[in-house]
Symmetry: C2
Subunit: 238 residues, 2 copies
């Protein structure tokens, strides 16, 4: 699957505001009209990501945000009760979109080796489509208050478990070698994360997200696939 067709499918979803964690916060918002909330929250979230990824969330002032979003300080505070609240809403909204899409695409595949390839590929495509948020989430959630940090860690472990499960199922079916699946899974995560953490590097070198995906898949299959079961051949470089 090519990135371009994935992206088309995704851009609508990405602005869904129907997550339950999000609705929890909805009642703190003074604005009544649903369409105004959706429009302005979108603008506020994008501005937050833009500024934070430049100078850090903690360093972003409300005046910065006000200028970038084109709303006065007063207006901003009718969409959230404070900086911490803003972070919570942003995180829960994006996290639920990510999870939904990842699960959807993996479920479509029947074969285990395909599921693993798809999991790697779709995770990369997701982080490509929402790079500013993935970067933000990685860099900022470490320093945040207790419950938010716990959710970030849980989210890290959640995708890791998906990979570990696939590797372990694959071993049972004889298509993958016996390895330390948990460790392999966590190394896959590290490689996936590098894509959105070092985007400047890959962009400068003209590495496309497709070719990065193919490269990762071939590294992992070299390491995990049983001999003879080379699966569909994957190009190792572009």
């Amino acid at each position: 699957m090519k990135y371009s067709s994935f992206k088309k499918r995704i851009t609508d979803c990405a602005k869904d505001f129907c997550d339950e964690d999000f609705l929890e916060n909805r009642k703190n918002i003074r604005i009544k009209k649903e369409s105004t909330v959706a429009k302005n929250l979108g603008i506020i979230f994008d501005a937050t990501l833009k500024i934070s990824n430049n100078k850090g969330f903690q360093a972003m002032t409300m005046r910065d945000l006000s200028a970038e979003a084109g709303l006065s300080m007063g207006a901003l505070y009718s969409y959230f009760s404070g900086k911490e609240d803003l972070l919570k809403m942003l995180q829960s909204q994006r996290r639920s979109v990510t999870k939904k899409i990842l699960e959807e695409y993996i479920a479509r595949e029947a074969d285990i080796a395909d599921k693993l390839r798809t999991a790697i590929r779709i995770h990369l495509y997701l982080s490509e489509a929402m790079q500013p948020w993935f970067y933000f989430s990685y860099m900022e959630t470490k320093n945040i208050s207790g419950p938010e940090q716990a959710k970030a860690i849980e989210s890290e472990l959640y995708t890791e478990r998906i990979f570990a499960k696939l590797l372990s199922d694959g071993e049972k079916s004889g298509i993958f070698l016996r390895r330390n699946h948990q460790l392999t899974a966590s190394i896959i995560k590290a490689m996936l994360q590098d894509w959105y953490l070092k985007r400047w590097k890959y962009a400068k070198r003209n590495i496309s997200v497709e070719s990065y995906a193919n490269y990762l898949i071939s590294i992992i299959e070299n390491f995990c696939l049983s001999a003879g079961k080379t699966g569909k051949p994957q190009k190792s470089e572009e």
Copy 2:
């Protein structure tokens, strides 16, 4: 080589204050006596890393630092001219130690495959011995003023080039396969970084730095070594 013997060798070095970039800043320090400077700067650096890795460098106040270091605000300001200056000194001191040691150990090996193994292993050992600083440097330097950020990027690319060069030399000698060496090198970096960025995870799972090193080396050698040249066998899991 075991981590424990490496660590013994390193702990002395790690407090060297003889880097040229550092001496540049030395003249801004009002304190005359060299031994006092070394002692208190050590305390200040450690306190900075401890607080910053908890709440972020930008969120660390001088009062926090004063309390943690056991020095008054006034005293602190006789060791640096401001927060930014403190960061510059810390970065240049640690960066020079890291570079020196990494080069030293790679140079000791004659065989290319051994050089690659050593580069991976020693980088991991270094980041284990100085985990707080590696973590700090990764998370904080992105948001900092121009020249400091440029040095951080240069440092990332510097180690990457070491790996890429080894892979490419190895290809010429016929021991490594023809791959996209630059891309492989950047993926090696990603895997190395995961060790110090997710230390909580590996600690909880009782993965030792030695076994992580062995695992990485086996992934890379599976991918890069020419058939038949399996080199010294590496354990893939512990």
